[in-house]
C-alpha cells in the first residue's frame, strides 16, 4: 500500500514489519516521531512488542543489550547527543555480538545547540564496530530496516541505519509500505543459538584475559569483512520479494565520467539533478553514493572511481585536524592503486542547505582546478 509519510514514520513502519519484540528509546529531536509512532503501534496492537521507556539513551541501548541477549529482536532510535551518550553501550553491543538495529537521525552536535543535520554524530561512532548504512529516501529508509535485521542476525553484529535530520526525517514522500506478512517471506523469525537461557546456563562477558581478547576482536573484523557479501546477498533477496534493491554503493552516470562526485544521504538526490544538468551541457560527470559505510566497500568503490580522472568528495562532516571523513575513506580505498586526484569539500554542516548551486560550485571547482593546492575545501563559509 502506497502512502505519503514522513521519513521518521518510514522507520517505524520498517520496525513494525520486522516484528521487533523489544523497543527501548528516549526522546530526542529530530528522532522522536519514530518512537512516538512505535508507541502508538504497540498501544493499538499493530506490533506485539514491549516498549521500555527509559530515562536516558545510555539506558535505551543497555535495555536493547539485555533484550537482545535474551534472544529477542531489539530496536532503538536516537540522534546526536543521544547517540554520543550511548557510546559505551554501542561498544558493548558489538563485543557481545548482539544483532540490535538502531536508527540514527543525523543531527549536528552541540555546542552551539543545533537540531539540524550533519553526520558528525554517526561518523564519530565509526570505530565502535556497528555496521552503518546511510539512506537517501523514505522508501529506502523503510526497506533498510528489515534488511538491517537480516544482516545483523546473520553476522551477529549490530546495524545502524542513518537518515538526515529534516531533509529526510521530516520530509513527506510516497512510500510503498511493507507488511509483516510480506516481510516474513524475507526475514525469518529470530531464533539465536546463543542466548540467556536457564536451561543452558553460561556466563556472558566475564573477564577475558590477553589470551582470549584478541581472537574475539579478530572475529568481529571477520564478521565485518563477511558483511560485504552478506549485505549484497540480503539486498538481492529483498529485491526478489519487493522489487527494490539498493546495493552497497550507487553509481550514477559514471561509465564515461571524467569527474565523479562522491556523496551520501540526501545530498545524493540533489547531486543527481546537477549531474543531469551538467550532462546536458556536455560535461562528463557522474556521482557515486556511498550507502554502506561500515563495512567499507573498498573494491566496489575502487571499481567505479578508478575509471575517473578526478574525484570530489562532499562531506557533511569534519574530522577536526584531518578533513572530511568520507574523503579519508575514499582516499584509503584508492591509495596505492591509482594517481587520480581526490579533493574533499566540506559543506552543509549544522543543517546548512546543500542546494543544486552549492553542488554545481563544487563540481566546477573540481573540474576547473587541475592541481588543487588544498585537498580540503570549505564551501560557503562566510568571511
Amino acid at each position: 500500500m502506497k502512502k505519503v509519510i514522513m521519513g521518521n514514520h518510514s522507520v517505524s513502519h520498517g520496525v513494525m514489519a520486522s516484528e521487533v519484540k523489544v523497543i527501548s528509546a528516549y526522546p530526542i529531536t529530530p528522532q522522536t516521531h519514530i518512537v512516538e509512532l512505535l508507541s502508538e503501534m504497540c498501544g493499538n496492537g499493530d506490533i506485539d512488542a514491549k516498549f521500555i521507556k527509559v530515562e536516558s539513551e545510555h539506558s535505551a541501548m543497555a535495555a536493547c543489550v539485555g533484550a537482545s541477549a535474551a534472544g529477542s529482536r531489539a530496536f532503538t532510535a536516537t540522534s546526536s547527543q543521544g547517540l554520543l551518550l550511548m557510546h559505551e553501550m554501542l561498544h558493548w553491543a558489538v563485543g557481545a555480538r548482539l544483532p540490535i538495529v538502531l536508527a540514527n537521525v543525523n543531527r549536528a552536535v552541540g555546542p552551539p545547540w543545533s537540531i539540524w543535520t550533519d553526520q558528525n554524530d554517526s561518523l564519530s561512532q565509526r570505530d565502535v564496530g556497528w555496521l552503518q548504512i546511510y539512506c537517501e529516501s523514505n522508501q529506502e529508509t523503510q526497506d533498510t530496516i528489515p534488511q538491517a535485521f537480516k544482516i545483523a542476525e546473520e553476522l551477529q553484529m549490530p546495524v545502524m541505519i542513518v537518515l538526515d535530520a529534516f531533509f529526510l526525517s521530516h520530509t513527506y514522500e510516497i512510500v510503498d509500505i511493507i507488511t509483516k506478512e510480506e516481510v516474513r517471506k524475507f526475514l525469518p523469525e529470530y531464533k539465536p543459538e546463543i542466548k540467556i537461557d536457564t536451561k543452558d546456563p553460561h556466563s556472558f562477558g566475564n573477564l577475558g584475559g590477553p589470551d582470549v581478547y584478541m581472537e574475539l576482536r579478530y572475529m568481529i573484523q571477520e564478521a565485518m569483512e563477511k558483511g560485504i557479501d552478506v549485505i549484497k546477498r540480503v539486498d538481492k533477496e529483498f529485491e526478489e520479494v519487493f522489487g527494490r534493491g539498493y546495493g552497497l554503493i550507487q553509481p550514477y552516470r559514471c561509465d564515461d565520467a571524467e569527474t565523479i562526485l562522491v556523496t551520501s544521504g540526501t545530498v545524493s538526490s540533489t547531486t543527481r539533478a546537477v549531474i543531469d544538468q551538467m550532462r546536458d551541457e556536455g560535461i562528463k560527470i557522474g556521482s557515486l553514493k556511498i550507502r554502506v559505510f561500515r563495512p567499507f566497500p573498498f573494491e566496489e568503490v575502487f571499481e567505479v572511481l578508478s575509471k575517473a580522472k578526478k574525484v570530489a568528495v562532499i562531506d557533511r562532516n569534519i574530522s577536526f585536524g584531518n578533513g572530511g571523513i568520507f574523503y579519508q575513506e575514499i582516499k584509503s580505498a584508492l591509495y596505492g592503486r591509482t594517481d587520480i586526484p581526490i579533493v574533499g569539500y566540506i559543506a552543509g554542516l549544522g543543517g546548512r542547505d546543500i542546494t543544486p548551486s552549492v553542488i554545481r560550485e563544487i563540481a566546477d571547482k573540481a573540474i576547473g582546478d587541475d592541481k588543487p593546492e588544498r585537498y580540503i575545501n570549505w564551501i560557503g563559509v562566510k568571511k
Binding site: 553460561h202 562477558g205 573477564l207
Partner: protein, 302 residues
C-alpha cells in the same frame, strides 16, 4: 528471627576469585539457595565481575550477563522483557551490584527501572566503598572511614547516602536491608522478593575484610555487630513505601566496638567516636519513629 534449615541447593561453586571472608560471596550463595535454577543474573562492574571467574569459567551455575558499570538495573529490565517476549515468563531476573554501581554510577538506571516498576530483583551488596578498584570512597562509605581516596589526613566527612529512603521514594512494592550475619533473614527476604511482581530492592551489608583492614574471620561478626549496634538496621518497606518494619529483637551492642576492630576507623579520636555514636542513635530513633508514624496512619494497618 527463628533459626531455619539451610537449603542444600548450591548454585555457587568453590573456585571463585573472592578474597577470604568476602561478604559479597556469602551473600550470593545464600541468595541463590532460595532463588533456584530458574534465575538469570545481571552483574555490572564490581567485585562480582571478577569473583565469577575468568572466561570460560564461571563460579555460578546460572546464566550471568556481565554489563557496564551503570547499567545493571536497565539491562535486567531489558533481559526480563526479552525473555518474556520469547515466552519465558518464569525466569527471575536479578541485578547484583556493589554499592558504587548502585548508590553512585548506577543510580540513574536503577531509578528508571524502579519508576517503571520493572519486574526485577535488584540486590546491592554493600561493602561501603569501591573495593574492586582498590578501596576508593563511594557515597555509601560511612562518615569517618579511611579509603584510598579519603586518607587518614582527610578521612570521609560526609555521612553515608540514605539509599533506602531514595528507593522508598519510588513507591516500589518491596525494599529490605539484610546482613550476611543473618542468612535466614536474608533468604526469607529474597524469597519474598521473588514472589512479588515489580521492582524489589534488597541491600545487604556485606563486609569486605580486605577493604576494611580487618581479619577475614571477623567478617560475619562485624556483619552481626553492625546490626546489633544499630549502625545497619534490618528493615522491610512494603505496601509501596507505606509500611516500615524495623527489626528490634536484639541485645544492643556498642557502635565503638563494631568500629574498633576495623582498621578503616583506627585513626578516629574518642570525641569522633562519640559523635558517630550519637548520630547512629539519632538515626535509629528517627527510623523507629517513622515506623510508628506510618503504622498510625488509618487504613494502612494490616
Amino acid at each position: 528471627m527463628k533459626p531455619a534449615v539451610m537449603p542444600l541447593e548450591e548454585l555457587m561453586g568453590s573456585g571463585h576469585l573472592a578474597c577470604q571472608g568476602c561478604g559479597a560471596t556469602q551473600a550470593m550463595r545464600f541468595a541463590l539457595k532460595v532463588l533456584g535454577p530458574e534465575t538469570a543474573l545481571v552483574i555490572p562492574a564490581c567485585c562480582w565481575a571478577v569473583i565469577d571467574g575468568t572466561f570460560p569459567h564461571s563460579a555460578v551455575n546460572l546464566p550471568i550477563y556481565h554489563t557496564a558499570f551503570e547499567t545493571a538495573a536497565v539491562v535486567a529490565s531489558g533481559l526480563k522483557a526479552g525473555l518474556e517476549m520469547r515466552g519465558d515468563t518464569e525466569t527471575t531476573v536479578m541485578a547484583w551490584a556493589g554499592d558504587g554501581g548502585t548508590f553512585d554510577i548506577g543510580l540513574q538506571a536503577l531509578s528508571g527501572a524502579a519508576e517503571r516498576n520493572d519486574d526485577i530483583i535488584y540486590v546491592c551488596y554493600d561493602n561501603e566503598a569501591y573495593m574492586n578498584t582498590g578501596i576508593q570512597r563511594s557515597s555509601s562509605t560511612p562518615v569517618g572511614a579511611w579509603t584510598t581516596t579519603t586518607p587518614v589526613t582527610n578521612y570521609k566527612r560526609e555521612p553515608k547516602k540514605n539509599m533506602i529512603d531514595i528507593m522508598a521514594a519510588h513507591s516500589i512494592p518491596y525494599i529490605a536491608t539484610a546482613s550476611t550475619a543473618y542468612p535466614h533473614d536474608f533468604m526469607a527476604k529474597v524469597k519474598k522478593a521473588k514472589s512479588i511482581r515489580g521492582t524489589k530492592y534488597i541491600q545487604i551489608f556485606a563486609p569486605c575484610p580486605t577493604g576494611w583492614k580487618m581479619a577475614p574471620e571477623l567478617s560475619v561478626k562485624s556483619a552481626r555487630d553492625a546490626v546489633t549496634s544499630k549502625v545497619y538496621p534490618l528493615l522491610e518497606i512494603t505496601e509501596h513505601g507505606q509500611k516500615l518494619k524495623v527489626w528490634k529483637d536484639f541485645e544492643p551492642t556498642s557502635v565503638r566496638d563494631y568500629m574498633k576492630v576495623q582498621g578503616r576507623f583506627r585513626h578516629l579520636k574518642d570525641e569522633e567516636f562519640d559523635q558517630i555514636e550519637k548520630d547512629v542513635e539519632m538515626k535509629w530513633q528517627r527510623l523507629v519513629a517513622k515506623e510508628k508514624m506510618l503504622a498510625s496512619i488509618p487504613g494502612l494497618i494490616e
